[in-house]
């Protein structure tokens, strides 16, 4: 697939510029949030723990609280870019190592959910659109309406009470060890996490497919003798990918944030449950770090989706609106 390089580098540069700008501002906001808390920053950071002189000095040093504001930010940002996210108060460890230890579970959970969402959501949307107005479509619509209203914590509790407690098919907590055991332990959590997003992807897919099915070039393709299944694949589904890809950014953000809920409900040791724990225990450096990671991940995923846009819709490079 050779492609003229023409406008692409300019497009890339523009997007990268915007993303860097956004990341700078969001990181600044995350950093500055410390000072939004009522009262003295030092007191806030130390809250609940005995304010020994060493502890206070350590906090001041970590955040550079004696220095001017901007310097504090740059000092903090510099640390972040070198992987130094501060020290956790509750664990007396580097935040960085805390996070990397738990990253695996969260990533596995999000990945399993993403696969489930993509497969089931796309299938539901495609089937619904191809049978629009008939029983299968009604079923899809009802299902998506219901699922959209089941938040992950409700799903978690209901699934646990049915499949773990009543039927004993799945474990109630823990992430397991080893690939298969992991998958087994994460089955219910990823299902709980996925339900609302399956509804979202299903609806968006169905709507995009219906839009495309009505386009003239689909009828033209049929008129040239191509089998219906081929036309649906090459011309309907292919063209519907655009709107579907657009929501994937939202999807990832939602997954990351909701994982906090699912991890807490199932007793998994991931980033999400760490976040909740840290809020509970007033361990601000950890909270700050996780918030920063989630927001950054969100921005980066959106960037990737944007960069893939020209592949999906060649007209976006030329600057024409996609519809």
């Amino acid at each position: 697939m050779t492609r003229r390089l023409g406008p692409w580098p300019a497009y890339l540069a523009r997007r990268l510029g915007a993303v860097v700008g956004t990341l700078v501002v969001t990181s600044f906001l995350v950093f500055a949030s410390l000072h939004v808390a009522p009262g003295d920053p030092v007191a806030f950071l130390v809250q609940g723990r005995s304010p020994s002189p060493e502890a206070i000095a350590a906090v001041k040093e970590q955040y550079g609280l004696d220095q001017p504001f901007l310097t504090q930010y740059l000092h903090w940002l510099g640390g972040v870019l070198h992987g130094d996210l501060g020290r956790s108060f509750q664990f007396r460890e580097n935040v960085g190592s805390l996070l990397t230890a738990r990253l695996g579970t969260t990533l596995a959970l999000v990945l399993m959910s993403a696969i489930l969402i993509t497969v089931v959501g796309l299938a539901a949307g495609i089937i619904g659109s191809l049978h629009a107005g008939r029983t299968a479509d009604r079923f899809v619509l009802v299902l998506t309406t219901l699922l959209a209203a089941v938040p992950s914590f409700v799903a978690a509790i209901l699934l646990i009470s049915l499949f773990s407690v009543r039927l004993g098919w799945f474990p109630t907590f823990g992430a397991g060890t080893g690939l298969v055991d992991r998958a087994y332990h994460l089955a219910l959590p990823s299902l709980a996490l996925s339900l609302t997003f399956i509804a979202l992807v299903g609806r968006v897919t169905r709507s995009a497919m219906l839009d495309e099915l009505g386009r003239e070039h689909v009828e033209v393709a049929l008129s040239r003798g191509m089998p219906r299944r081929t036309v649906v694949r090459r011309h309907v589904l292919r063209n519907a990918l655009g709107p579907i890809a657009t929501i994937s950014g939202l999807l990832v953000a939602g997954l990351l944030v909701s994982s906090a809920i699912v991890e807490s409900a199932f007793g998994l040791n991931g980033l999400g449950s760490l976040l909740v724990q840290s809020v509970d225990k007033g361990d601000f450096p950890v909270v700050q770090a996780i918030v920063l990671i989630v927001v950054t991940a969100f921005v980066v995923v959106n960037l990737v989706v944007d960069l893939l846009q020209p592949l999906i819709d060649p007209r976006s490079l030329a600057g024409t609106a996609a519809r």
């Binding site: 009828e219 090459r234 819709d313 060649p314």
Partner: protein, 334 residues
């Protein structure tokens, strides 16, 4: 045996319309012949073309027979239909930008029907595509194959569509208002390309348009449709010289032509029949200057053959709509 024969074709869509969308349509196209199908929007001409390809809207009830090269389209199975569409009949659509998938390359568009409908070889298909792009007069075929539709102008895209229509070596070409979406200069180019290719390859061509002059320019025979029925058919020259149906005469009188003398253009008053109306008699009666009260609106006129002409008008023998239309002053609308 004619290449294309429509016999008593009717199409109803009870959910949408009270009147039949096509009613007792008889039409033939022979090999190497260019036949025009003229009518305003809503006359059923596009529907006829789609019916020939077996592309009927859902909920349509069809009657009569459509035969292409011996194949009965309306009762054909899936495989027969696929063969029909990929190698016997092709259609050139009105708006190339809507008809070609904007997200795929021109080369894909051209070769996909051959590769996927007939399981043909990709390389051979590409070679043929290049040949045809040249045949339609595009300057840089190799580059065009890799381009996307938005990189080409409307006129160039229409040429691409014509090339695409010829990829399967069809014997019948349907052109559904192929120039309506284009500007006048481009129209002339496209029409000349179509005429040339038709002559070169001996194709049968059904040329659908609302422009009677355009039909007259390239067609051997013309059918005129109104409200789903054929109201007149004749050889093009005879039709223009001596229209026998008031509607045809009205159309001729209302279109400006360089070679005709008009004091003023005489529009056909009134508006086309809506889908909800289903009058028992002649559908054109409300707008017809020659309609007789009590007769035309109540009795359905039959299509009457006279040699190689046919007219659907109860009064056509008595009146000379052609001459009278030319002598008309403006009448008040009914």
């Amino acid at each position: 045996m004619s290449l294309l024969t429509l016999t008593d074709v009717s199409l109803r869509m009870p959910a949408l319309a009270r009147r039949p969308l096509l009613d007792a349509v008889d039409l033939t196209v022979d090999r190497g012949e260019v036949v025009g199908l003229v009518g305003e929007s809503g006359s059923g001409k596009s529907l006829t073309a789609r019916a020939i390809l077996g592309l009927l809207p859902p909920g349509a009830e069809v009657g009569g027979t459509i035969e292409v090269d011996g194949l009965d389209v309306l009762s054909a199975g899936r495989d027969d239909l696929r063969r029909l569409r990929s190698s016997q009949v092709s259609m050139v659509f009105q708006d190339p930008r809507a008809a070609i998938n904007p997200l795929r390359r021109i080369g894909d568009y051209l070769t996909e029907s051959v590769r996927l409908a007939r399981g043909g070889d990709g390389r051979a298909a590409t070679a043929r595509a290049l040949e045809l792009l040249e045949a339609v007069g595009l300057p840089d075929p190799v580059r065009h194959l890799r381009q996307f539709p938005h990189e080409l102008s409307g006129g160039m895209l229409q040429r691409v569509m014509i090339a695409g229509a010829l990829m399967g070596d069809p014997s019948l070409l349907l052109c559904d208002e192929p120039t309506t979406a284009l500007d006048v200069t481009t129209q002339a180019e496209i029409v000349s390309i179509l005429a040339r290719l038709q002559a070169e390859q001996g194709l049968g061509m059904l040329f659908i348009t609302h422009d009677l002059d355009l039909a007259g320019a390239i067609c051997d025979r013309v059918y005129v449709m109104y409200a789903g029925r054929v109201v007149e058919t004749a050889r093009a020259t005879e039709l223009f010289a001596d229209p026998r149906h008031p509607y045809t005469a009205g159309l001729l009188a209302s279109t400006p032509g360089v070679d005709r003398n008009h004091d003023r253009l005489v529009p056909v008053c009134g508006s086309p029949l809506s889908l909800l109306e289903n009058p028992p008699g002649c559908a054109f009666a409300p707008r017809c200057d020659f309609a007789v009260d009590g007769l035309c609106a109540n009795e359905p006129p039959a299509l009457v053959q006279e040699g190689d002409r046919a007219v659907r008008c109860l009064r056509s023998a008595e009146i000379s709509p052609g001459r009278s239309a030319r002598a008309h002053t403006v009448r008040s609308a009914r």
